[in-house]
């Protein structure tokens, strides 16, 4: 069976490189790689396309602490010029809102660092709000879960379907009486196109 060696300069037919085994499996030996040139993507069985390095992915953090945003049942929407992007392939993330550049399955997640909690703060909820649906990813007694300390951190994520131009952002809400809950600088929002 002919076998192909990509040696960096020429395509050679050799015997010990990319191998066809049992007529159905291609094996790439150690030290050899397969490069995908179509926008960095790999198409697999059924036409599914695996995301490549140029596809949407982002990580952003709150630039500075946002004081007294909730705690009295105020629904805090974490949008506005409060975010600093660690990376944002495709520039799809603006001021807390991610806009899907194409239809696909995305993973979206967030880390919330909440501070200023007291025993007056009971129920808390966190949602990842996309155009097609809202994901109620967290609903807890924040004071009890934090074992009675004023600062807690938690992370949540979802895998969701997004159509091109759909948006996503996060909301955070704490009850019940005192609007003294801050969202601090480790608070992050992140996501990536899966396929």
């Amino acid at each position: 069976m002919p076998q192909i060696d990509f040696d960096g300069a020429n395509s050679l037919v050799k015997t010990d490189k990319i191998q066809g085994q049992s007529g159905t499996t291609v094996t790439v030996p150690t030290g050899h790689t397969v490069a995908i040139t179509d926008a960095g993507r790999l198409t697999v069985a059924g036409g599914a396309v695996l995301a490549g390095p140029t596809d949407a992915k982002f990580l952003a953090k709150i630039t500075s602490g946002q004081a007294n945003v909730t705690g009295d049942n105020t629904l805090y929407t974490a949008t506005g010029a409060i975010w600093t992007e660690t990376f944002d392939t495709g520039s799809d993330f603006v001021n807390g809102t991610f806009t899907a550049p194409e239809t696909g399955k995305y993973i979206l997640g967030c880390l919330i660092q909440a501070d200023g909690l007291t025993s007056n703060h009971t129920r808390s909820s966190l949602k990842i709000v996309t155009s097609n649906r809202s994901f109620w990813v967290m609903d807890r007694h924040i004071w009890n879960e934090g074992a009675g300390v004023s600062q807690v951190r938690f992370t949540e994520c979802v895998v969701c379907d997004m159509d091109a131009s759909d948006t996503a952002y996060i909301t955070f809400q704490v009850t019940a009486t005192d609007k003294h809950v801050d969202v601090q600088v480790d608070t992050s929002f992140y996501g990536a196109l899966l396929a």
């Binding site: 129920r123 155009s131 159509d163 091109a164 131009s165 759909d166």
Partner: protein
């Protein structure tokens, strides 16, 4: 973007405010694609009767949630 009544209905089936979504879409073709994707689901839902669009469904869900919160406050 100027939407037909059917396009707006289909978008409102999926998102809270179809016109706002369309106005903020990156490309007009994204609007067309989203309508195409969800049109069958919209038609099916309407055919079942007692149709509620996304905004109306959210309001029902919100009311239920308020009741759950009231009746099941955490300890």
């Amino acid at each position: 973007m100027k939407l037909t009544e059917k396009q707006l209905n289909v978008l409102n089936h999926v998102v809270v405010d179809g016109q706002e979504w369309a106005d903020n879409a990156i490309k007009e073709e994204h609007v067309i694609a989203k309508v195409t994707t969800h049109e069958a689901s919209y038609d099916e839902a309407v055919a079942k009767g007692n149709y509620l669009n996304r905004k109306q469904r959210d309001e029902v869900e919100r009311d239920l949630e308020e009741k759950r919160r009231t009746n099941n406050a955490p300890n």
